[in-house]
Amino acid sequence: MMTQMLAAGSIGLMHYLVVAAIMFCCGVATILLKRNAIGILIGIELILNAANVNLVAFNRYPAPGAGAVDGQIFAIFVIVLAAAEAAVALAILLNFYNNFATVDVERADNLKG
């Protein structure tokens, strides 16, 4: 199967999905491993990008009946939302930094029961 995937001219949907899956896992690992809040934000960006690669790839290899650019439209929305999320997250982060003088998320445990 691997040799078949690597043959010339055989790049298909699957290749993109695999790349996206690996990126997604890297994003998850980043979130799990970093204690720096900005690091977590970076992990989230990686995950969103992985999802976007999926969307655009499915747009290129569409299911029957799908619109010509639906996948890309969704990807655009995701990009916009990612930008919005980054802005808000950083604003919150700055507030957090202001209160705790650190960006270590372990310190954000005020909600501890």
Binding site: M1, G9, S10, G12, L13, M14, L17, V18, V19, A21, I22, M23, F24, C26, G27, V28, A29, T30, L32, L33, K34, N36, I38, G39, I42, G43, E45, L46, N49, N52, V53, V56, N59, R60, Y61, P62, P64, G67, A68, V69, D70, Q72, A75, I76, I79, V80, A82, A83, A84, A87, V88, L90, A91, L93, L94, N95, Y97, N98, V103, E106
Partner: protein, 182 residues
């Protein structure tokens, strides 16, 4: 289809480009995970974003590729770097995770990767790209954004406005508080 400049077929070039961009994206993602320093993570993220932009190009999504470069590489990343700068005293201060966390996290991620990749390679996707003439993305994108997707499009602009106000408010509240504190 043979490229006139050298004796390599166009498909071959496309494949090579795909592997190049995929390697960029994956390698940089891995380096994000591995990096200890937050600035290095941000730079790795930049490379990963560039790789993804390249992947978009190879998927005939030129417009998205450009948007990726402008919004992500140009906007979001700058925002993140600003965040790094504004929380400056901790830039080089490393927050090491505990060992148990590293083991659990890495293990989980690898498990997830294995499950996902095996699921993908096993499934039977329709694998025929849409024809070249249908792929005039910018034209269709424009039509779709101002046609079928007009309402989401407008909603998202309202959302952006809300985010702008919200972010400004949060940042401003912080300032006032710090002044009041001193």
């Amino acid at each position: 289809m043979i490229h006139p400049l050298c004796n390599i077929s166009a498909e071959c070039v496309c494949d090579a480009l795909f592997y190049l961009f995929a390697a960029m994206a994956i390698g940089a993602s891995l380096s994000v995970v591995a990096a200890k320093n937050i600035v290095r993570m941000a730079v790795s993220l930049l490379v990963a974003l560039l790789g993804v932009a390249g992947l978009y190009l190879s998927l005939n999504a030129e417009f998205l590729s450009a948007v990726q470069l402008v919004v992500y590489a140009g906007g979001t990343l700058v925002l993140i770097i600003f965040g790094v700068m504004l929380t400056n005293n901790s830039t080089y201060q490393l927050y090491k995770p505990r060992r148990i966390e590293v083991v659990v996290g890495t293990g989980l991620a690898i498990m997830l990767a294995v499950v996902l990749v095996s699921a993908i390679t096993r499934s039977d996707f329709q694998d025929r790209p849409i024809g070249a003439d249908e792929a005039n993305p910018v034209f269709h994108l424009g039509r779709a954004l101002l046609g079928d997707f007009l309402i989401p499009f407008e909603l998202i602009s309202v959302l952006l406005l809300a985010v702008m106000i919200g972010a400004a408010y949060l940042a401003k509240a912080r300032k006032r508080e710090s002044e009041g504190g001193k």
